[in-house]
Every structure is written in C-alpha cells, then in structure tokens.
C-alpha cells in the first residue's frame, strides 16, 4: 500500500513537472483506463469517419477533387492505425478495440452519424468538422502520455491540410453558381450545430474533464475550446459570404468573443444514445467490412504460418 502511494506520488510529481509518461512507466490504473478509452475512441472516430466522406469519392465532381478526397480519407485510415498502435502500448489489442466498436461498447465521435447529402458536405466537413477536431487535437500534442502526444503531432499536421481543402471547396462553391452557393449554405446549416457539439458537454456537466485536466491528458476545457472555434470560424463564414445558422450569434465587444445561442443537447444525447440519422448504417458497414474480410485475414495468417514452417524445416534440414 505504502509502495503504491509512493509510486502514485512520484507519478503525480512527474506529471506536474511536465514530463512525458512512457509505455513502460508505472501509471495508475485509472490513468491507463482513461487513456485507452480516449485513444481508442479517437481511433474509432477516424475509422468510422472514413464513411461519410468515402460516400462521395466515386462521385467527386473533378478528377483533382477525387484525388484529394481519396488521399484525405486514406489519411484518416492512417490516423486510425497510429492511434490503435498508441493504444496498444497500454496493453490492449487492436482486435479487442475493434470488437468493442463492433458490439457498440466503444463510442466514436457522434458527428459521423450525420449523413453527407451533397458534395458541399465534403467542404463543410473539412472546414468545420476537421477545424473543430484540430482545436481539440492540437493541445493533445502536449498531452502527458508520450506515445499519444507523438501520434497527435503527425495527425495534426495532416488535419490542417484537410481543413484547408475543405475551406477551398466551400470557397469555390461560394464563388460559383447560385445553385452551388445554396448548396454551401445548406451544408453550413446542417453541420454548424453538430460541429459545436463535437467539443462535448458544457464544462459543468462533463464527467471526465476534471481528472483528465489534472493528469494533463486534457489541457483546455470543452467550453474554452468551443469558444475558440466559434471565434475562429465566424469570420471565415463571413469571408465565404455564408450565414451562420444562429440568430443569437453576435460579437461581444466587452469579452472580445462571439456570443452564441444555446446548444440543443437533447439532440446530442439522442445521437450519442444511438438514435442519430446514420448510427445503424455506420456500424453495419464497419461490421460487414470486418466480417467479409475474415476469410482474407484467415488466409494471410495461414499462409504466414506455412511459410514459417517451411523456413524452419529448411533450416533444420540444412
């Protein structure tokens, strides 16, 4: 018991002095569990997040756009891979994490349960959803767990490219035909509020926040990050000549921030609870990909085993 207390004190002191915790360092169980939950949830979001954008790859309106979108979705698969690997350093396997995703035990970002109805949604997702993700993720590059922090450095570099390509799509649409501009406004109308929800519940009702802040897994509160996102994005919407769908939105001279209207948390709770427009399809698609691929993974494993046997029998014969 005393030994555990010593370890805990050393751990807390280490974190307090801004040092990184590495995979083999001692850490409290709760810290490990929190990280596994957060990193795997993040990895799952990347993987499920491939679907709403993947939905438009075959219909992209030019070969250049097709190529950029395909590269972007492929980056997301890559982010999923680094993040699963970062989580594996904490003693869980990718199979266990995927199983939790497939059976609904693990969560992923609710934003991906909304449908992508038009090409403008590719712009809105890059601009708003990746923009919000960057706000959340840049501080994670300094999080206390080394493997996660390092994975995030790479993820954030690519995300900022994704955000720019999304904004570029919106810019082309806003400067385009009346139909294109309408498409852009419609996408902003549909993605604005779900993007604000990506920062999670208000600070007062966020259940994981306080401990994570103390452990330096989280560096800023949900509401702080949400405010930063609004302050950054509203001028960009003005530049695009689009209207943010919030009648209460106005610049507050006194605070130096935008005030914005209340978020409909009942919608958020519905989507988190599995009742969003695409929850069922997203998981069904993921599970189908996994199940349809089972014979392929089995074949690869069987072949690897045979090859190893052949190699060892050759060695022993020699």
């Amino acid at each position: 018991m005393t030994q555990e207390m010593d370890l805990n004190q050393r751990f807390e002191a280490y974190i307090a002095s801004d040092q990184k915790i590495e995979a083999k360092d001692w850490m409290p169980d709760a810290y490990r569990k929190t990280l596994i939950r957060q990193i795997s949830q993040h990895a799952h979001s990347e993987i499920i997040g491939m679907q709403p954008e993947g939905n438009w790859i075959t219909r992209a309106p030019s070969l250049k756009r097709k190529s950029i979108l395909l590269a972007k979705v492929q980056d997301e698969a890559g982010h999923g891979l680094y993040l699963y690997s970062a989580a594996e350093t904490l003693g869980i396997t990718r199979d266990e994490m995927l199983d939790a995703l497939h059976t609904g035990k693990a969560k992923y970002s609710s934003i991906f349960n909304y449908p992508t109805l038009t090409w403008a949604d590719m712009g809105a997702i890059g601009w708003l959803v990746d923009g919000a993700a960057i706000m959340n993720q840049v501080p994670l590059c300094k999080c206390s767990y080394g493997p996660y922090a390092r994975a995030m450095v790479r993820v954030c570099k690519e995300e900022s490219f994704h955000q720019r390509q999304g904004f570029q799509i919106m810019l082309n649409l806003s400067n385009g035909t009346p139909e294109q501009k309408e498409m852009a406004q419609d996408a902003l109308n549909r993605w604005w509020w779900p993007s604000l929800m990506m920062f999670g519940p208000n600070d007062a009702s966020s259940k994981h926040s306080e401990q994570s802040m103390r452990w330096k897994i989280k560096r800023f509160s949900n509401d702080e990050l949400r405010q930063r996102f609004v302050d950054m994005t509203v001028p960009q919407a003005e530049l695009l000549g689009l209207t943010v769908p919030d009648p209460d939105l106005k610049w507050n001279e006194a605070t130096g921030h935008y005030d914005f209207g209340p978020i409909d948390w009942s919608e958020f709770e519905q989507v988190v609870a599995g009742n969003g427009p695409c929850n069922r399809e997203r998981i069904e698609t993921r599970v189908a990909a996994h199940e349809n691929g089972a014979w392929v993974r089995d074949a690869a494993a069987a072949y690897a085993e045979k090859s190893a046997e052949r190699a060892s029998s050759q060695t022993s014969a020699a």
């Binding site: 309106p61 070969l63 395909l70 891979l81 699963y84 082309n172």
Partner: protein
C-alpha cells in the same frame, strides 16, 4: 498518325481511370485497415496516371478537351478501356486477381513506353507510372499467393475468381489498326508481343499460389472499340453525376 496517337493514349488513360474508380469503391470496406490503405494508394496512383494521360490525349486531340471533359462528358460507348478493369469488384479475391492480371500487363506496357524515344512526353509519364505499377504488381502477386496458398476456403475462392476473370485477359493482347500504327511509329510494340512474357510471369505466380491456370480460350472483348459490359454505364452514371447535373460549374 495524330488521330491514332490520341486514340492510343485514351486507351491507356481509360484503363487507369476505370480501375482507379473501381478500387476507390473499396475505401472503408477493406478486409483490414492496412489493406484499405493499400487499395486507396493504388487507386490514387492510377488516378494520377489517368489524369496525366487524359490531359495528354486531350492535347493531342486538339479540340480543347481537358482531363475532366474526357472523364465526365464521354458516354460508355466512347470509353476505350479493356473490359477486365471495369468488372465489378466482387469480393477481395476477385479484386486482387483482377489487379494481378492487369498489373503484370501494365508493367510490360509501361516498360516499353518508358524506353522509347519517339514520344518523349509519353515516355516521361510512363517512367513515373512504371515505378508505381511495379509496386502494385508486387502487392497483388503477394496477395494472390497468400490467398491461393492460404486456407482451403481462400484457395477455392480465388481459383473461382481466376476462372471467371481469365477470359477477359486475351483482350489486353489484341491488336488493331490503332495499335499497329503506334507500333509502326515506334511508340509501342504490338500488344501481342507482350503475351509470352505476361503468360510466363502470371503462370509463375499461379504456380506459387498453387492455383490452376484456366485452359479457357474464350475471348471476351470489345472495350477498345467502345463495346463494353453492362457494368460500365452504371459506373459512369455514378462517376459523372455532379458534372452532368451542373454543367459548366467549377468545383
């Protein structure tokens, strides 16, 4: 000769574009994350080749058509790809066998194109593409071997894929007035000249994969003159929908 060149380059470009489109359908449906990434990568390479080739075809044609005009505003009767690359993806084994059969051909064709000095623009595109398709060929051959020599189920599945796809391979080696004109100009040898090396390499892969090379002599052909399978028109309907719905818009 100028007309024939344009026609010839379209064939190369359409092979790459149509196969890229098929492979991109795999995105987020792959059997493992690593393979999802690999198939997207191959699709991206092929798409890059298609863009360079269609741009060049448009320039040689001299009617002001760019890559997008050629990709989005031709009908299926105007596409010049081989039938093999437009076939639906099927399961992963179908996709990978189709890829292996095509990759082995693409390597030979790009090797020849990269080493000729008659058309230097085409040679430059081919030299870049060759590095990519050599990697694709290694990837698809490894998977054919893994699946062929994997489990009993995987063996049966890919043998069936091979039996179904084999009759589409002969089209790759057909020659006509267009390919003869290109051969005479020294841009590319006749397609038929690749048959022996292709067959030898494919047989070596199939042997290692413990698969049986089909004996079929059926010849399913028509793509080079725009007589496609029923599948292509659906693929194009999906690919071209936005451009055709909003003609003249910039994206």
């Amino acid at each position: 000769m100028a007309d024939q060149q344009h026609e010839w380059i379209l064939r190369l470009g359409d092979d790459a574009l149509v196969l890229a489109q098929r492979l991109s359908e795999w995105c987020s449906h792959g059997p493992a994350l690593e393979e999802d990434i690999a198939l997207s990568n191959i699709a991206l390479d092929l798409l890059g080749q298609a863009r360079a080739l269609l741009t060049l075809a448009g320039q040689r044609e001299g009617q002001g058509r760019d890559e997008d005009a050629l990709a989005y505003f031709r009908t299926d009767r105007e596409f010049r790809n081989a039938l093999l690359v437009e076939l639906p993806n099927g399961h992963f084994g179908d996709t990978i066998v189709r890829q292996m059969l095509f990759d082995q051909f693409a390597v030979l064709r790009y090797e020849a194109l990269a080493s000729q000095t008659v058309d230097l623009e085409l040679a430059a595109i081919a030299a870049k593409a060759l590095k990519e398709v050599r990697y694709h060929a290694a990837h698809s051959a490894q998977w054919v071997v893994r699946l062929g020599d994997g489990t009993e189920e995987s063996h049966q599945r890919v043998q069936e894929s091979l039996n179904v796809l084999w009759p589409y391979t002969a089209e790759l080696f057909e020659d006509d007035a267009v390919s003869q004109a290109c051969a005479e100009a020294g841009v590319l040898p006749l397609n038929g000249s690749f048959t022996a090396r292709w067959t030898e390499q494919v047989r070596a892969i199939l042997d290692e994969a413990t698969l049986t090379c089909p004996e079929s002599t059926a010849l399913l052909t028509g793509g080079r003159s725009g007589k496609h399978t029923e599948h292509l028109s659906y693929m194009l309907a999906e690919m071209q929908v936005i451009q055709r719905t909003y003609p003249g818009a910039e994206w």
